[in-house]
Each structure stands twice: as structure tokens, then as C-alpha cells.
């Protein structure tokens, strides 16, 4: 038991010593390369109806919308290098809206797509414009 205690003391001392070196030098090495960190673009997920009611789960229209959005986001969005004036892009907004409000959400998303032009920014009050000159949109029923 005594040996065990001595080991604990030695281990904790060693640990604290190596931590002191590591606390400074490892972050120092990292600090130089912060600008070179590459994060691959996030893969968009398929619309989920897990938390929805049974009717929604068996509604084929939901799956058509989910499939169309998935194909658009995975293939077409990249192919046209889509850039949206809204912070939550039109396709993402539609996806989130459908997930939250169903058919109303779908109409809401299409409505945003209908008004997705640069000049629309002037229709919104100042506080809704982000520093990247995008409209801060939010989900609404």
C-alpha cells in the first residue's frame, strides 16, 4: 500500500510537470497554423419525419419533398454554386420549415425562394441585416 501511495505521488508530480511544458508548447505550435485549418463543407442530411405524427410518416408528398430537397442540396446546389441572400438558405429554410410545420412550412420556404434576390435586403429593417449583408431570417409558422 505504501508503494502504491508513493507511485501516486510520483505520477501526479510527473503529470503536473509534463502538463506545464505541454500547456505552453503545444498551443504555441498550434497557434501558428490556425489559419490553415481546413474543414470540409458540411454534408446536408435528409429531411427527417421521426418526430412527426403517423399521418405525416405515411404521406408520400413528404417523401417527395424530402427527396427533391436532398437531390437539390447534394447535386444541384453545388452545380449552380447557389448563393442565397438569406442567412438560412432557401433550401435549408424549406427543409427546416417542412420538418417543423409541414405543408405550411413548405409554402413558407417556397415564398422565401420567390423573393431570393439581392435587392430584397432593402425590405428589411437594419437589425435584420447581418455583417455579411445577409437577411437574418427565422422560422415562422
Amino acid at each position: 500500500m505504501k508503494r502504491f501511495l508513493i507511485l501516486i505521488v510520483i505520477f501526479s508530480y510527473q503529470n503536473s510537470k509534463s502538463q506545464t511544458v505541454d500547456l505552453l508548447n503545444s498551443p504555441l505550435a498550434k497557434s501558428v497554423f490556425l489559419d490553415y485549418k481546413y474543414e470540409p463543407p458540411e454534408k446536408r442530411k435528409v429531411l427527417s419525419f421521426k418526430s412527426k405524427r403517423l399521418i405525416a410518416k405515411f404521406n408520400p408528398l413528404n417523401y417527395i419533398a424530402a427527396g427533391a430537397l436532398f437531390v437539390y442540396q447534394r447535386v444541384f446546389s453545388e452545380q449552380i454554386q447557389a448563393s442565397c441572400i438569406y442567412e438560412i438558405s432557401c433550401s435549408n429554410y424549406t427543409k427546416l420549415s417542412v420538418q417543423e410545420y409541414g405543408i405550411k412550412g413548405f409554402l413558407s420556404g417556397i415564398n422565401q425562394l420567390n423573393c431570393c434576390f439581392t435587392d430584397v435586403i432593402y425590405d428589411y429593417p437594419d437589425y435584420m441585416i447581418s455583417s455579411e449583408s445577409k437577411v437574418r431570417n427565422y422560422l415562422a409558422k
Binding site: L107, I110, N111, N114, C115, Y122, D123, P125, D126, M128
Partner: protein
């Protein structure tokens, strides 16, 4: 030694010393070991606040607990959380030191300005707690502005400062608009409901895109017939966008109501901060 000690919050206080012969020793002990009931060094707190040394500021206030009256400590904590924006903690300590906090006009005005743009629930708690007659004209003006934002239709805009009147007029106008009227207008002329809501450019885009969808559907029906798959596709596309424009106009009116209110309060906060804003300490 039988000392009956009773705790008042954070500070320990001797209530009774029953055994008389130990009393002298007790006072000698107090003289050497008990820290003297200190006073808060307000100029030092001001300095900490100005240099934004939040850690030291917090430690100092915590250190004073038990040495100073609890009311003063709560007041200092309330001011601390007002500066370092923690609304719920601020309100917690404000209620514990209400009279002291209200007597500090700078801090009270600052808190009133601060809550103009905060979370609705906490905002309500704050403005409901403000006494009706504080004696401060600045606070009264800010409160008038807040009640104007809550009851826009009942408020006459002329009682507000001139700089805020146009924002308030826009907000008041938006409150009288009906979402169903916007939907009906958009059903008649695509996008018109958006114009009614106050979104001119959205109207142009919606109107022209609907026009284009309509014309291309018309062309395909005329040349290929209504049962042709392409005509059905074109028509459904037109239908979906048409329905979306109606629902979107309905929604836009509701959104505009919220947006104009928030913008009015943000501008009011900027205005009062510029005109009434004084250092917290």
C-alpha cells in the same frame, strides 16, 4: 464558552453572549481576529468597472460579503451583472436591493435603457417592477417609450422624442394591418399583399416571377394542350408559387409587425443611450 451564534445570510453575527465572564475574552478576540465592518470603496469599484477587470470586480464584491450590509452587496452585484449583461442575475439582485438601486439614478436609467431591447419575458418583469413615480424624468420618458411599444394604437406618437416619431409611426401603421387582407390582395394580384405589408421589392419580384410562370404555363397549355405532362408540370409549378405567395403575404404582415417593433425599440435604445447614457459608476 457558550456563544449562541445565528447566521444572517452571509455574515455571522453574535446575538447573545450568555456567559458573562467570557465576554472580555470575546471582545479581545474580536479586536484581533474579526475583520472590521468595512465600507465599500466605491471609487475602487468604479475603477474596476472602467478598466473592465471583471474577475477582480467580482472577487472584490464577493470579499465584501459579510463585511458590509447585505443590501449594499446585492446592489453592487446587480450593477455588476448589469455591466456584464446577465439579465436574470441582475434582476435577482435588483429585487434584493430595490430601494438602494432605484436611488442610484445613473444605474437606474442605464437599466431602463438596457431592458428596452431585452428578452420579452425579462423585459416585462423589469418594467412592471419600475415604480410609477420615480421622480426621474429620464426614467419616465423611457417608460413612456416602452409602454408605447406595448400599446401602440393607444399611444399618441407626439409624446415621443422627434427622432423616434417616424419609427413609431411605421410601427403603429404595421399594427393596424391585417394578415388576411394581405392574403386576399395577393390572391387578386400576386405579390400585392407584400406591398401592403410594406415590402415593395418583394412585391416586384413576386409579381414578375408569377407573371413569367403564368405566361409559360399559358403557352404550354395553348400549344401542347392541358393534358400534356409539360403543361401539368408548368401549371403545378405556377400553382405552388401562387399559393406560396398568398401564404407568404399573410405571414409577412405578421413578421413585419414584430420587426417594426424591434427596430423601434432598438432605435429608442440608441437614442436614449446617446442622450441619457451616463457612466454606470
Amino acid at each position: 464558552m457558550r456563544l449562541k451564534i445565528r447566521t444572517f445570510g452571509l455574515g455571522n453575527c453574535i446575538e447573545t453572549i450568555k456567559s458573562g465572564k467570557w465576554r472580555l475574552f470575546y471582545f479581545i478576540f474580536l479586536f484581533f481576529f474579526e475583520p472590521a465592518a468595512g465600507q465599500v470603496n466605491y471609487s475602487f469599484v468604479k475603477h474596476l468597472s472602467e478598466v473592465k477587470l471583471s474577475k477582480e470586480h467580482f472577487t472584490y464584491i464577493s470579499q465584501q460579503s459579510g463585511k458590509c450590509p447585505e443590501d449594499s452587496i446585492n446592489y453592487l452585484k446587480a450593477k455588476y451583472y448589469l455591466q456584464y449583461v446577465n439579465d436574470s442575475l441582475f434582476l435577482h439582485f435588483y429585487f434584493k436591493s430595490k430601494s438602494l438601486f432605484i436611488s442610484d439614478s445613473n444605474a437606474f436609467v442605464a437599466a431602463n435603457i438596457h431592458f428596452l431591447t431585452r428578452d420579452t419575458a425579462l423585459q416585462k418583469v423589469w418594467y412592471n417592477s419600475v415604480p410609477t413615480s420615480t421622480g426621474s424624468k429620464k426614467v419616465e420618458q423611457i417608460n413612456t417609450c416602452y409602454s408605447a411599444s406595448v400599446y401602440p394604437t393607444k399611444t399618441d406618437g407626439s409624446i415621443l422624442p422627434i427622432a423616434l416619431q417616424s419609427d413609431f409611426a411605421r410601427y403603429k401603421r404595421s399594427q393596424s394591418k391585417k394578415p388576411w387582407a394581405a392574403a386576399a390582395l395577393s390572391a387578386a394580384v400576386p405579390g400585392l399583399g407584400k406591398m401592403y405589408a410594406g415590402r415593395k421589392r418583394s412585391f416586384y419580384f413576386t409579381f414578375f416571377s408569377q407573371l413569367t410562370y403564368g405566361v409559360q404555363s399559358y403557352e404550354s397549355i395553348k400549344k401542347l394542350g392541358v393534358s400534356h405532362p409539360f403543361s401539368i408540370f408548368s401549371l403545378s409549378l405556377f400553382g405552388v408559387f401562387y399559393a406560396a405567395n398568398i401564404y407568404g403575404s399573410y405571414q409577412d404582415v405578421r413578421k413585419v409587425k414584430k420587426e417594426t417593433k424591434t427596430q423601434f425599440l432598438i432605435n429608442a435604445q440608441k437614442y436614449y443611450h446617446f442622450n441619457f447614457g451616463t457612466p454606470l459608476y
